[in-house]
Amino acid sequence: MTLTASVVGASGFAGGELLRLLAGHPEFELAQATSRSATRKTVGHAHPNLRGLDLRFSDPADLESVDVLFAATPHGVSMGRIDEFRDVADTVVDLSADFRLDTAEQYDEWYDGHERPELLAEATYALPELNREDLAGADLIASGGCNATATMLGLLPLADADMLGSQRPVVDVKVGSSEGGAGGGAASSHAERSGVVRPYAPTGHRHEAEIEQFVGRVAFTVHAVDMVRGASATCHVFPDERVTTGDLWGAFRERYEDEPFVRLVSGGGGVYRYPEPKSVAGTNYAEVGFEVDPRNGRVVVFSAIDNVTKGSAGQAVHAANLALGIEETAGLEFQGLHPVGAP
């Protein structure tokens, strides 16, 4: 089986990653990659790692029929063109926030008014570790947000095991500069953005909406730190009853034992004892681990992903694999690098 796939928003960071993954995918053949600003340029012009690909950006207005269309555009774009997208493709995977929430009310609260609220119920949210079973055959897929992904992967085992506690968990996230997209601006210039620990969303980050929808409320804060790829969520949880390391291993293994893209990493010796974004950079893997703090009645959960892969493009391909009955891990086997600096 070879399926054709196109990427709208292919000059961006998530779009470029989609191109990389689809070009190496055994079941997909790349049809179109769109860009308004670089129409007709080779994709290698924007993405130097793809110089070997014989493909030019096309205009997003000229979409050809394909099996799957991936949209990696800023939020608000897909909802405006969704009929057209679904006309040209049987399966649409949207990486933006447009179809992630269940109701128009939620969307209004966190974003700016939804043009096609009736589709919210129809769309399937995609975080395979959360709802793999919903994905087979789904044809309008809303790929999850990067920070929400990191957070939920950390919290899901505790939610299952009823260990989240009645006190709201605190989630303190650290992210790389690629989360801001390819656009740039003064705050993301190298001179200003290097070496930072910068409160970037002190409160009110929009991914809270997704997390609340699936796991419950959290007190959420996001910091920009000096890396390009990577999102790391530290979840400070206060279970109502004392839990032991053994309880936690039980809960985490229960949830993730069979997950192909989750690795439990917690304690031990050597340099890499807990989840770290750089251990999974360039991959679709998540590292998840924890530590018990008996003194403070706390469980600290660490979760690390590559926001561009597991946090967006990889997750979208993973969802498409599941939706279309392809081997789940197809095209997503890259294991990452060691040593690696600040990917």
């Binding site: 291993w249 293994r253 990493v265 917690s266 304690g267 031990g268 010796g269």
Partner: protein, 54 residues
């Protein structure tokens, strides 16, 4: 193949595993002491306080 006493994951052991040997668990990284070999029994080895500096 035996089970890690720390995290419960399967631990693959070398064929010639010896009593007293310390092995790490691939899942949780715990240092495991081989208490006996037939059958293999593992226990979590006392952790060396390794300072990452402060």
């Amino acid at each position: 193949m035996t089970t890690c006493p720390e995290c419960g994951a399967d631990v693959t052991l070398p064929d010639d595993v010896e009593t007293g040997e310390i092995l790490d668990c691939a899942t949780c990284g715990a240092e495991l002491e081989v208490l006996s070999t037939e059958p293999v029994e593992l226990d979590v080895a006392p952790e060396l306080e390794e300072d990452w500096g402060e």
